[in-house]
Symmetry: C2
Subunit: 437 residues, 2 copies
């Protein structure tokens, strides 16, 4: 033990969960005893690890006496000052987190689902008990995102957040863009490499991203954005053709999580979006995550890194632990106070205004364009930025059009698309996508 | 005043300096009284502003009674809890910062020169007095960089930092790359736009970047890297031709600040470098700053934003102030403890190993290549990755060559270049640059 911590009593740690992330946390805490003791000023000691099966073979060697399947063994150990939750999922994780805070323990969690659904509730419990719950690992793996929003950018009014916050879908979209592959082919490749799960629903439908956006938007806009308030649309409708046309128009296609402050409301939505090729977010490829935060003082700040994986997530969990432990060693950990402003409710998606890309197939004859622009412009007041005829199909005498609009209300755009689809000269709507930036 | 802070006594702020950044800080603190009181839990009150000339007309309207040219008016005011230093330069800023800490005040500074030269000294004074000095604004304007290194990435062993940390030079290099302009032309354009000062030495010679690298490297590697230890080479030798050849080879040219941990030493150097076009740093253009940090757990984390300007810097200064004030309001601000590890000294530049780009003009005749590769390879053991003949010059029968080497020791490379330059068949060394990544 170093001089700095000679004789100092250890800070006890309880670990809930010993999976991919929990194994990483245990491994790092056990192998960096000396360094972390110097950082904190007191040694850290794992006292208990809650697991489902104590007898299972494990990649990380820990003293079997630490393992227990009885949560009381963790909660009843008065020598445990900090409890780390890396079980994931809603229950029992949520109940454990409440119990940990109610028992006066500091808490570190990587749980995006619980923090998205119950974050303000848990922060209130922490405050009432004079402790704190830290959750840097819940969003963006090892990229510092929660701390900048909670602390470093505090002087700003955050005006928007735009994020690529799900590595699985970004990997799939990168393959589609680079190889001209269709969705099913790219998904299969991602599954073969272990980047996508056998049931990829949570990722490809934008549910995972919606959790993470709810957490970030709640902090940035100081209002509770619930996951159920976040509009989410997945990537399963995208085709190789959309990527080709987008590239020709100067855009990439990314699954974006977007939060934006409006006058008396906030936007919170997850969907594929056309992003200008020279925007920083357009250049984020593969499994990387990135978040662009716009503050009224600082302007654009951009964060990029590995959003998942055992070691990046361990970096965030152990980083939170070291900061809490350092505060305990100093006698007074700083506590984050959740402050809610009257920022207003989440704007319904129907009220959101953005630009659109519309791909459709029409009969190749006179008067068709006039009919379509009539529906968009005259009936719905949607102004058209450009119409490009992309391809002719000789066999059925149809042409493919791509229409780019100026900003329009989502409800108007959806109604207009329905009306356009019902025109006799329109053979079918290929896709419609939102444009960001 | 909001309910949360009703009747709570204010936290007094003393401001040293009222220039570009000081004006921004004053303006924001005076216009966001209510929001910041809610964030902190107590109102913030500017009590004194030290200026050179209290009678000067100012863009930001402040109560003239706040202005003073006597530093004692700030230091002797017992109602001032936090002192903000935005004077810049070494003295008297350094003396003021010491005096502020010795008097038991928390301190926020934007001063890169003082923090680079005296950071550990001032942190030790702060520690002895039970206060803290915060300096997020000293590097990278509004981009959170100091806090991630101090706190969020604490679990990692940081292996390297690579940064574009001077907006003036990045603007000049971007113009040179895009327009094929030579250095003098691009410098003039930057000066005309106010991005470069009439005497640009500090920026274009890499001195400003060396200060910032010293601050970041000291934190990241937990060893005091002094500005005098940082090798720095400026951008004045670069030519349009180097940009053209670099692009053809798949590289951008950027002024990089590089810190790297070695086994028993650290590297700290600022110089122009060839960066692969697909690397995130190669895509950072104009006045933007960006820092790529590599941690052993988190992998690559990348930060980008506006590195200078009144409002981005104000964002960092006020962010630090809000965090300190929040801690004071809670009764116990968290204090950063400077912890020095035996990371070892800064490696002399002569001992650094990297890859090189060498441009030279040679006589167009047989045996020349063999002579050059003989010097590099046989005499100095420098392995050549590629040799490309770029241009022929009919009038003097010379050819321009670009040689890319494998990794070599700087001292060997320099000696080899001297020897190559003395070969009878070599008409001149055009340039030599280091390659990164």
């Amino acid at each position: 033990m170093s001089n700095a911590t000679n004789g100092a009593p250890p800070i006890g740690v309880g670990l809930l969960g010993m999976g991919n992330v929990g194994g990483g946390v245990a491994q790092i805490l056990l192998s960096r005893v000396e360094e972390y003791a110097r950082t904190v000023g007191r040694p850290l000691q794992i006292r208990r690890i809650l697991v489902r099966d104590p007898d299972k073979a494990r990649a990380v060697a820990v003293d079997p006496a630490l393992l227990t399947k009885n949560p009381d063994d963790v909660f009843d150990d008065a020598g445990i000052h900090v409890i780390i939750e890396v079980i994931g999922g809603e229950e029992p994780a949520h109940a454990y987190l409440r119990r940990a805070l109610e028992s006066g323990r500091y808490v570190v969690t990587a749980n995006k689902e619980v923090m998205a659904k119950f974050g303000p509730e848990l922060l209130a419990v922490a405050r009432a008990r004079g402790v704190d719950i830290l959750y840097e690992a819940s969003v963006g793996g090892g990229i510092p995102l929660i701390a900048p929003l909670k602390r470093d950018l505090l002087a700003n009014e955050i005006t928007s957040i735009r994020a690529i916050i799900n590595g699985t879908t970004n990997y799939i979209l990168t393959r589609m863009a680079r190889e001209g592959a269709d969705y099913a082919v790219a998904l299969k490749a991602a599954q073969d490499l272990g980047y996508a799960e056998p049931d990829p629903t949570n990722d490809v439908e934008g549910i995972d991203a919606a959790y993470k956006l709810a957490i970030m938007a709640s902090l940035a806009f100081r209002t509770q954005v619930r996951p159920g308030d976040v509009f989410h649309e997945g990537i399963t409708r995208l085709t190789a053709r959309d990527f080709r046309y987008a590239a020709e128009l100067g855009y990439a296609i990314k699954l974006l999580a977007i939060g934006r402050r409006e006058d008396h409301a906030v936007q919170a939505r997850v969907h594929p979006a056309l992003v200008p090729l020279d925007a920083p977010l357009a250049k984020v490829d593969g499994v990387f995550n990135a978040v662009q935060v716009d503050g009224d003082l600082t302007g654009m700040v951009f964060f990029q890194g590995r959003g998942a994986g055992s070691m990046p997530t361990t970096s965030a969990v152990v980083g939170d632990l070291l900061n809490v432990a350092h505060g305990i060693a100093q006698g007074a950990p700083e506590r984050f106070v959740w402050r809610e402003d009257p920022a207003g409710a989440v704007l319904p998606m129907a009220e959101v205004r953005t630009r659109y890309y519309l791909r459709l197939r029409v009969a190749d004859r006179a008067g068709v364009l006039a009919a379509i622009t009539g529906v968009l412009g005259e009936t719905y007041g949607i102004s058209i930025a450009s119409i490009i005829q992309k391809e002719m199909h000789e066999h059925d005498q149809t042409a493919e059009l791509v229409i780019m609009t100026h900003e329009a209300r989502e409800a108007d755009m959806r109604a207009a698309i329905d009306r356009v689809a019902s025109l006799e000269a329109v053979a079918g709507i290929g896709n419609f996508l939102r444009v960001e930036g």
